[in-house]
């Protein structure tokens, strides 16, 4: 009887929840969904913004302004004045560079290019990594040894240096070619990650179960194991996008990389060489620098957000 009476005490109390309380409870529950992570949102938003600049810019802005000499030289952005006393005009809202190219057109073409190189290189690297990692972890033996040693070796070689050798020997490359070359250096960390995970999953119950029920090796790898790896893969993918863009920008700043396509790194390279820092032509190097910084911050936020999704312990601190 006493038990019933306590229940009776509780029940009216729950009924007495105010509307405010219930709304708060609902909000708390909503925030418990790990994917609704503010960092993930902000990061995704930043990257989306850059992609939008690329798409909308192509529709709304005259991209022929990207050609050398299409405008006056070294014009400042609107609302500023350069050392020669020229004021910025709306014909070139972000100013022009030392060769008269419109900065806005440069950005509209250049910013998505950097993202494209990063995504493509990372995607290819990831595919190689998934294939090699699963093979090493699942097949084991001699194959595993070879893949393990190879990825250990390749992970210590900085991609920038080998690519410098490559591009200085071959000269001009296309954007896609550069992405392919970079991809040759970003497969190692996914390979190692997946191999380690596969090794630990191989002996787990559900994999044994699938094996006993006659699932093919392919099915076990890609239907049973791969879905469990997705949070790790995402994190590794984003980290590789960052590495790829850093490498691409590094090459461009050294004067290598694609010569005929405008890229943010190449714009910075030209600005430094023309002494834009001393001449206070801040828009020339500053705008590409800020855009790249926004891109990297966006990628970092996504990665931090993903970390919190897959590791609940980080959420509280």
């Amino acid at each position: 009887m006493t038990e019933y009476s306590t229940d009776d005490d509780v029940a009216p109390a729950e009924h007495g929840l105010t509307r405010e309380d219930r709304r708060r409870a609902r909000r708390m529950r909503r925030f418990d969904n790990p994917w609704l992570n503010p960092k993930l949102y902000w990061g995704g938003g930043l990257l989306l913004g850059i992609v939008l600049v690329g798409i909308l810019g192509r529709l709304l802005w005259d991209l022929d302004l990207v050609f050398t000499g299409s405008g006056m030289l070294k014009l400042p952005p609107v609302g500023f004045e350069n050392l020669r006393g020229q004021e910025g005009t709306f014909a070139n809202p972000l100013g022009t560079d030392g060769a008269g190219r419109d900065m806005l057109a440069l950005i509209v073409i250049g910013a998505p290019n950097s993202l494209f190189v990063g995504l493509l290189a990372s995607l290819i690297g990831m595919s190689i990594g998934i294939f090699l990692g699963f093979t090493a972890g699942y097949v084991g033996g001699r194959t595993d040894d070879i893949i393990r040693v190879l990825s250990d070796v390749m992970i210590t070689i900085p991609p920038l240096l080998i690519l410098v050798v490559f591009q200085s020997a071959f000269g001009d490359v296309s954007l896609t070619m550069m992405a392919l070359l970079i991809a040759g250096f970003v497969w190692q960390s996914p390979t190692r990650l997946i191999r380690a995970q596969v090794l630990s999953m191989k002996s787990s119950g559900y994999v044994q179960m699938a094996k006993l029920s006659g699932a093919s090796t392919f099915d076990i790898m890609f239907r049973e194991m791969l879905p469990n790896l997705i949070p790790y893969l995402f994190g590794s993918f984003i980290a590789n996008v960052t590495t790829s863009i850093v490498t691409a920008v590094g090459l461009e700043v050294l004067g290598l990389g694609p010569q005929r396509v405008p890229t943010l790194g190449r714009t910075i390279y030209e600005a430094i060489n023309a002494g834009a820092l001393i001449q206070n032509l801040w828009w020339w190097w500053g705008i590409p620098t800020l855009l790249l910084a926004a891109m990297f911050i966006g990628l970092l936020l996504i990665n931090l957000g993903l970390d919190e999704v897959s590791n609940p312990r980080l959420r509280k601190a």
């Binding site: 040693v149 210590t156 700043v253 004067g255 430094i272 190097w285 500053g286 990297f296 970092l300 601190a317």
Partner: protein, 335 residues
Amino acid sequence: MGRIPRSYLINRLITLFLTILIAATLIWVIPRLSPVDPADIMLGRMAAGAGSVANADQVLAQLRESFGLDQPMIVQYFKYLGNTLLFDFGLSTASFPTPVSSLIARALPWTLGLMILSVVITFVIGNALGAFMVWERSPKLVKVAIPAAMVFTSIPPILSGLLLMWIFAAQLRWFPLTGAYGLMVEPGWTWDFALSVLHHGFLPALSIVIVTFGFWALGMRGLMITVQGEDYVKLAEAKGLRPRYILYRYMIRNAILPQVTAFALKIGLLIAGQVLVERIFAYNGMGKLLYDAILDQDFPVIQGVSYVIILMTALSVFLVDLIYPFIDPRIRHEG
């Protein structure tokens, strides 16, 4: 104390050896796949300098011979490997006939100095901040300010370098714009020279530090959260030890160890980033040497610099792997 098992040592040595071999081979193979001929470029430079070159065919043949290009590929390859092991990368074509190795020897101390300085500073600052972020007793400000500063983590040092250069060198003129020491100062072991080096090195080092400390802070934060929940920390608290003592002797000491391995993975990116910082600051290190060589299409220098930088990376990773069992006796290496 951790003792390194022989199998582990052999394993690491093989990895080191293979890294060097593969890097050296790539550096050798790639230019040979290209249609560009270094002797041609050299001849072109001579022609550009002198107006015309008499007996161009003979000169070309001689140049090819001096580069060893007239021998069979396999002979060239093994000769190259042997020379590379002895740090003999041939002669620079742009500043002919200076040996590449002496150019590198002149640039290397600058790069190493800048690197060691910035790495040590970042490691200390980053790990300290990461630890204080987790510690309950650290001031509120730390917990708010550090995550905000951490946004800069992902930016490559070249971008921060440009910003710092513009603000502090071009606008405020607190620091010199380029170079590793003043033009007026005689290099030597004098106070003037040391001050000039510090003055010039400050911005390059700072641009590396502000974008890398966050990496260590983030890693440390994750490790500290794990350590915080450990039983030995609870016990230490229950014993009534001073919180500061617990932080330093119990938490940080345990959390910092995996950070050393993270260092091994990060070093390649660090070095590559620094090469670019040196290029924009025209700092007298490997980065500037590499950039000048790219401008001059000076292949022996490009190859030599790339090889030495990769060797530096591989050796640092090897050393970290070897030191690790000594600083963390919990690790026991098998096979």
